[in-house]
């Protein structure tokens, strides 16, 4: 976007989620967990509120009986431009990346005060309460591109920064720009209805730009001024 803020040369990664297309299948949740080595905490711990999923499907039920409807809102870290989690960390473990304009979480720097999680209006952050083991055969499935986290530190959605980096490096090696749709986070890749679209906001012809022009576009808790980089397209209720 033009504006003389000195960031024109950077990419600004945004995500568009069409709630009308989301059918709540949960493929994105699974894909995210596989891609990002998200710990498997087991049924009991998960039910206790210690699931580690970076991406969750918020479910809201409306009506009763035949009129029962459900709304799904896939929610992950909103990658706020003005993120409440960042100023409260005493050790800069969560901070803004200049290059990608997303929130980074530096696992090795985190000391586990959990202040960031309390200050996140989207409750998007998860904490490693224990050292988790992956039950077989999931332990053969770890993604070598992503750090495995240990107990006592905070983690959250990274917009699959490893995939962004890989695309950028491929493009650089081939001497071209990253083309629209080249970077696909795991959730977007797995979504069977293509409800999740990812792209560069600064490319005026990108799909995300075109989708976000819709009258249905909104951001979660926009009035807070957190300036999220996930744009939702309002959707109807789903029959169940």
């Amino acid at each position: 976007m033009a504006g003389g803020n000195g960031h024109e040369e950077h990419t600004k990664w945004v995500m568009v989620i069409d709630l009308d297309r989301c059918n709540g299948c949960g493929a994105c949740v699974t894909a995210c967990a596989m891609e990002n080595n998200v710990a498997f905490t087991g049924e009991e711990e998960n039910a206790y509120g210690r699931g580690m999923h970076w991406l969750r499907l918020q479910r809201y039920w409306e009506g009763e009986g035949d009129e029962l409807r459900v709304r799904f809102i896939p929610t992950m870290c909103q990658q706020c431009s003005n993120a409440p989690c960042e100023p409260v960390c005493p050790v800069y473990a969560t901070l803004h990346s200049e290059a990608e304009e997303i929130n980074l979480q530096v696992y090795n720097r985190c000391i586990g005060t959990r202040y960031c999680a309390n200050n996140c209006p989207y409750i998007a952050r998860t904490f490693n309460w224990f050292d988790y083991e992956w039950p077989e055969p999931l332990n053969f499935h770890l993604n070598p591109d992503v750090t495995v986290r240990r107990r006592g530190i905070m983690e959250k959605c990274t917009f699959c920064i490893q995939r962004i980096r890989r695309a950028e490096e491929n493009a650089k090696a081939e001497g071209r720009e990253v083309y629209d749709g080249e970077v696909q986070p795991a959730c977007a890749q797995a979504c069977p209805t293509e409800a999740i679209v990812f792209g560069n906001w600064r490319d005026p012809n990108s799909r995300v730009r075109q989708l976000a022009a819709s009258q249905r576009a909104f951001k979660l808790e926009e009035a807070l001024g957190t300036e999220p980089k996930v744009i939702y397209l309002a959707g109807g209720r789903h029959e169940f």
Binding site: V88, T113, I123, W129
Partner: protein, 481 residues
């Protein structure tokens, strides 16, 4: 000496006797006599005391350090916290202990600069409460970390990676506020202790004499030494007051600066200070009763008049707390924001309601019902009980603010509820025994009564005859210089 006052008749004599029984500062004793009384109390390391120290040490080792070590090995998941309530009993207790530590200095410094005479015998007992309260509070920022062994990353220290802590984080402000307060209040505790250390040095033998000699800093009691000491104490008493206010304000900012409904409140600074004073002054009552009941000769120094005065202070602070609480609660409710209403509804009628109602009863209703009564205030064991009740109320207040507000969020999908687990409860219990252990040890090592301050007070209290009446008169010796 000023106590040489001859009553003219029997009625006068009876009245003087009555006033002497009532007021420590009119009931003159010689310096030597008081020195002996205090030293007898300090040296009284009886079998009971040794048993108490041993039991407290063992319980603290297991319950605090044992449980903490186990939790470090296994992970913070042993505590009951879960999404979205990421802070639980540890932060609750942290704020609680900071509050306790607050009032020791408040009682001592504020009453000193306002020259409230009744403070004289118990300033030190209150200041010790500050120091040991801070020792307990200071553990929690470490205990609650996911990776305690990396706590030093919060400190600014030169390192090869050029990493610096984040000065925008309230947790870093906490770190500096608490350390400033710890150093300041320890020095403020130490200054008036110097003449008493010299007194103890001259009346002890063995290892005690060696330690007291070092701590007395060669005090000989010359005119110049006294002048310097008085000046230093005055400076510290004034300087520690803003530091004390800053500490609890900054602790309240841990919550108030957050983008969290129920936390983000402009009134939290003074509200937390009043809350700290409420719990702290209540705790002074508990400490004074315990000291009086377990230490020799303390009935002479600590009398119903002191509980009476502290009781009045407690009533005023309780009413002030009610005022701030009302302001916080009613205005939030009137604001009408949907999530805020859900939070307030959760406080009053939700799972946390028993804690919330305990808070209101113990902080406002019960003190308001009893503390106006002079007889109640003058009964030490009742004031001890009141101290415990108010502290239960203030613990409940912190519990409601920390965990209650986190339980209700903007998205109903993220509502939750928290219950503490055994490891947390054990660690919190352990800091209580740690406080008791430190205090029990100090009670047999440091003179709990600043003898020279009591003596000074007794010197300034004299009898005057005005017409037919005999009245006690107070002269302000401190500003004669």
């Amino acid at each position: 000496m000023s106590s040489e006052f001859h009553p003219r008749n029997e009625e006068e004599a009876r009245r003087i006797e009555e006033l002497k029984r009532e007021h420590l500062l009119l009931d003159h004793k010689s310096r030597a006599e008081m020195n002996d009384m205090v030293m007898e109390a300090v040296l009284d390391t009886s079998r009971d005391w040794k048993i108490a120290v041993t039991v407290l040490a063992v319980v603290t080792a297991v319950s605090l350090f044992g449980a903490w070590g186990y939790m470090m090995l296994k992970g913070l998941g042993l505590a009951g916290i879960r999404r979205p309530i990421f802070w639980g009993l540890f932060i609750v207790s942290f704020v609680f202990w900071i509050g306790i530590s607050h009032a020791g200095t408040f009682v001592s410094a504020i009453l000193r600069v306002f020259k409230a005479e009744f403070r004289r015998p118990f300033t030190r007992a209150a200041e010790l409460m500050t120091t040991f309260g801070l020792a307990a509070a200071g553990l929690y920022p470490l205990v609650h970390l996911g990776r305690t062994w990396r706590f030093y990353w919060m400190m600014p220290y030169p390192n090869q990676r050029w990493l610096w802590p984040n000065w925008r984080s309230p947790l870093l402000w906490d770190f500096f506020a608490i350390n400033t307060y710890l150093i300041g209040s320890t020095l403020y505790l130490y200054l008036p202790l110097i003449p008493d250390m010299a007194m103890a040095r001259d009346r002890s033998t063995g290892w005690r004499k060696k330690v007291y000699t070092i701590l007395a800093l060669g005090w000989r009691g010359t005119e110049q030494e006294w002048k310097n000491l008085q000046k230093a104490i005055q400076i510290f008493a004034w300087a520690i007051i803003p530091v004390m206010f800053s500490v609890h304000t900054i602790v309240s900012w841990d919550f108030a600066v957050a983008m969290k409904l129920g936390w983000h409140s402009t009134i939290f600074g003074p509200y937390f200070i009043i809350g700290a004073l409420l719990s702290g002054i209540a705790a002074v009552n508990v400490v004074l009763f315990t000291v009086r009941a377990t230490t020799k000769n303390m009935r002479y120094f600590i009398r119903p008049e002191h509980f009476d005065a502290l009781g009045k202070l407690l009533l005023i602070i309780s009413l002030s707390w009610a005022y701030f609480f009302f302001n916080e609660f009613i205005l939030e409710w009137y604001g009408g924001e949907h999530t805020v209403k859900e939070i307030l509804k959760f406080y009053m009628f939700g799972d946390i309601a028993p804690v919330w109602w305990t808070m209101v009863s113990c902080n406002v209703f019960i003190p308001g019902l009893f503390l106006w009564n002079r007889k109640f205030r003058r009964t030490p064991w009742l004031m001890f009980l009141m101290g415990i009740i108010v502290n239960i109320g203030m613990f409940a207040e912190r519990y409601v603010i920390v965990t209650g507000a986190l339980s209700r969020n903007r998205f109903p999908f993220d509502w939750g509820w928290y219950e503490p687990r055994l490891v947390e409860i054990s660690i919190v219990f352990g800091t209580f025994t740690l406080f008791l252990l430190l205090y029990t040890l100090a009670a047999r090592f440091l003179p709990l009564i600043p003898v020279w301050e009591v003596e000074e007070g007794q010197h300034s209290h004299t009898w005057r005859r005005v017409g037919k009446a005999v009245l006690p008169a107070v002269s302000d010796l401190e500003s004669l210089d």
